[in-house]
């Protein structure tokens, strides 16, 4: 009983301390926070908004996705900083699309500024996320730092705490009030992701003195995407894939640590079933370019089909249907990408005739970047089939070629 009341006491003290720190942080730094608004010029209403914070007297950090519509069509939007009741114009100085960051030039702020922390917190340490959820006003949300996000290509802090839309671009700070990262995304209950301070510091480091013309950002984004796909695909292309069997197909067991894999099989209920075993691996993160345009995804799917109980032609009919429709995994509109061009042929892969389809579409604004869809299905001798496919978005021709070659050589019928 005594122990229990002691524990309770400790818990209350901890909560009290926590609340105390939150209050302190908020009251100290409230002035250095702002609501970043993208205002539509015709209607003079905001079309999107997020949070931002001062890291230097004239520099504000926010998310790229908060301001992307402005960069897309600067002639129809205006970028506004709302601090309390005052509204001021903002300019974009630098962006990092890969880490979803943007650096803005804002009117000089004379009060206290946010400073970046020396290092990341320890796992379990308290962090406080600041921002403007759903435009309801600036809030502080306490959370717990839980290490770097696992199985992720992009470094993200995993914070257990509630992030809501509108808090994007706001800072997450440690108990001392130093910035450990920028709020960026949430997935379900209390799972929040924060861009680490190293990426923020790097962006501040390369920021130019004056704001570049809006047209220059397209080229900048293109370079960042090209560099990112190079970093992502180089290890995949360089490593020897560890292969395993899926039926009589040979498929990679793991491709890269940042890709998560899933398996699925349909258990045969009746005699005339087409049995299938599927494996798929995907990078679960995509790069935000605009509301309808995402890139940077990699997805691979493998399927083994066995229809021993079916007549050959019947098996083949259903087998062929499975490869009739392949889709690209990333969202895009006709404004962003060209239509797909496809080449299809029967190719000899590891001594087995295989129907191979290869489709490409180009990015209209970012030349040299493509979405690629590949599907291969072994021509069946008996009622067995093997389908392999991959889809890449935002890759260079060289990398797409190299991955296709590697795929055609290794992912084969044994």
């Amino acid at each position: 009983m005594l122990l229990r009341s002691f524990c309770c006491c400790l818990l209350f003290m901890a909560l009290a301390v926590c609340a105390d720190v939150a209050q302190q942080v908020f009251s100290q730094y409230q002035d250095a926070l702002m609501e970043v608004q993208v205002v539509e010029l015709q209607s003079q209403h905001k079309s999107s908004f997020g949070s931002g914070f001062y890291v230097a007297p004239e520099l504000v950090v926010t998310n790229y996705h908060v301001i992307s519509s402005f960069l897309d069509t600067p002639e129809s939007y205006q970028l506004i900083a709302k601090m309390g009741e005052t509204l001021n114009p903002l300019q974009v100085i630098a962006v990092d699309v890969v880490n979803d960051l943007a650096l803005l030039k804002a009117p000089e702020h004379k009060g206290l500024l946010f400073s970046l922390a020396e290092k990341l917190p320890e796992q379990g340490e308290a962090v406080f996320s600041l921002g403007n959820p759903h435009g309801l006003g600036m809030v502080v949300v306490p959370g717990t730092y839980n290490g770097l996000k696992q199985q992720s290509f992009y470094p993200r802090l995993h914070v257990t705490g509630s992030l809501n839309s509108g808090m994007s671009g706001g800072p997450s700070v440690n108990a001392a009030g130093d910035v450990v990262g920028v709020n960026v995304a949430t997935r379900g209950n209390q799972v929040a992701f924060v861009v680490p301070l190293a990426q923020v510091a790097a962006l501040i480091g390369v920021a130019p003195e004056t704001a570049p013309a809006n047209s220059e950002f397209t080229e900048l984004v293109r370079e960042q995407l090209l560099e990112n796909q190079q970093n992502m695909l180089a290890p995949i292309l360089a490593s020897d894939w560890l292969m395993k069997a899926l039926g009589r197909g040979q498929v990679p067991e793991t491709i890269a640590p940042f890709m998560t894999c899933w398996g699925h099989t349909n258990t045969s209920q009746t005699a005339n079933e087409l049995r299938s075993a599927r494996a798929s691996c995907a990078l679960q993160e995509q790069i935000f370019l605009s509301r309808d345009f995402y890139t940077g995804s990699i997805e691979m799917q493998f399927e083994w089909l066995d229809g021993s109980a079916l007549p050959l032609l019947k098996f083949n009919h259903h087998y062929a249907q499975k490869i009739a429709n392949s889709r690209s995994e990333n969202r895009a509109t006709a404004k962003d990408v060209t239509e797909f061009s496809c080449h299809s042929d029967v190719v000899q892969l590891n001594e087995r005739a295989t129907r191979v389809v290869y489709c490409v579409r180009g990015y209209k604004a970012y030349s040299g970047l493509y979405d690629v869809v590949y599907v291969a299905a072994t021509v069946s001798r008996q009622q067995q089939g093997f389908i392999s496919r991959f889809s890449l978005s935002g890759v260079s021709k060289e990398n797409a070629d190299a991955l296709t070659r590697k795929f055609m050589e290794t992912v084969v019928w044994q």
Partner: protein
């Protein structure tokens, strides 16, 4: 010169013709008239058509209840008949006045086009076609049923007669068209033609699957894919209109081209809005159907180079 009174129905079609040589013609509902009207809105003695001493015909209203209207709908008391084919309305009865020197339309020839297609009327042919088309539908039903459906696939065969009936709409339309134009409807020939064309189409689909599997990028195959469906459709419309009694070759040709072009114009209209997902050839058959040598990985990758040139344009 004799005068002719033609009674017209509400569509302006003739329902009766009277020819007179006397100089007074009485028109009305009572039985002592020369032209007896059935229309209850006309009077017993409604109007009189008479010739004066100069040979000029005059239509005079006999103070009727609903009057005599000219072709503009104006009420007239007395009106000279100056031109051929003037129409009047007595009550609700329309009539047209002509003179015997009116030139008649040229003689319509008896339709002859169908004679070369008389073999299409053969009943054994029609039955064979129906059986073959039904067999193909049944085969496809069987093909698509797997799992639990595989045991019950034959239940779906009940649908086949209804699907076949849908294909009767086109021959029925052409037969009606021919009937309206006072030609032989040739319904059985039209049905045989439609199902013959349908059978050809189904056979072509099977051949296309095999050709596509073996000769994916062969230029001849790509050309055939465009030509054969066009020819099959053109045959359907050309012979269909011929059987329906379309006499003029130019009309037959224009109608055929217009309807056949739908095969091209509909996909063209759809292609105006860009499709962002890939479409490609994916014919796949068992290994026994493969007669060509598969290409190598190298050759395939060289071919993909051109895709990048296409999307970069």
């Amino acid at each position: 010169m004799a005068i002719i009174i033609e009674l017209l129905n509400s569509q302006g079609q003739s329902t009766g013709i009277h020819k007179f040589s006397q100089s007074d013609i009485r028109i009305g509902r009572s039985y002592d008239n020369d032209v007896i009207l059935l229309d209850p809105h006309s009077c017993a003695e409604h109007a009189i058509l008479s010739r004066d001493e100069h040979g000029q015909w005059l239509l005079r209203d006999l103070n009727s209840a609903n009057g005599t209207l000219n072709s503009q709908g104006q009420r007239v008391e007395m009106v000279p008949i100056a031109a051929q084919g003037q129409t009047f309305t007595l009550g609700k009865q329309r009539l047209r006045i002509l003179f015997s020197d009116t030139v008649v339309a040229p003689t319509l020839p008896v339709a002859t086009g169908w004679q070369s297609l008389s073999w299409l009327a053969s009943l054994p042919l029609l039955i064979t076609l129906l059986v073959l088309v039904s067999a193909d539908f049944a085969y496809n039903t069987w093909l698509s049923a797997i799992g639990e459906n595989a045991e019950r696939w034959h239940r779906q065969l009940v649908l086949i007669p209804f699907i076949l009936m849908l294909f009767l709409l086109w021959p029925a339309f052409l037969a009606l068209l021919a009937r309206f134009r006072s030609y032989e409807p040739h319904f059985r020939q039209q049905v045989s033609l439609t199902f013959g064309v349908l059978l050809l189409w189904l056979l072509w689909e099977k051949l296309q699957l095999w050709l596509g599997f073996n000769f994916s990028n062969n230029l001849l195959f790509i050309a055939l894919q465009a030509i054969i469906p066009t020819l099959i459709l053109a045959a359907l419309f050309w012979y269909g209109f011929k059987l329906a009694g379309v006499q003029r070759k130019a009309v037959q040709l224009v109608l055929t081209l217009l309807l056949t072009s739908s095969y091209w114009s509909i996909p063209y209209l759809q292609s105006i809005t860009p499709t962002l997902q890939p479409s490609y050839q994916a014919e796949l058959l068992p290994a026994a159907f493969l007669i060509t040598t598969p290409t190598s990985t190298e050759a395939f990758l060289i071919q993909t180079e051109t895709l990048y040139q296409q999307v970069n344009q």
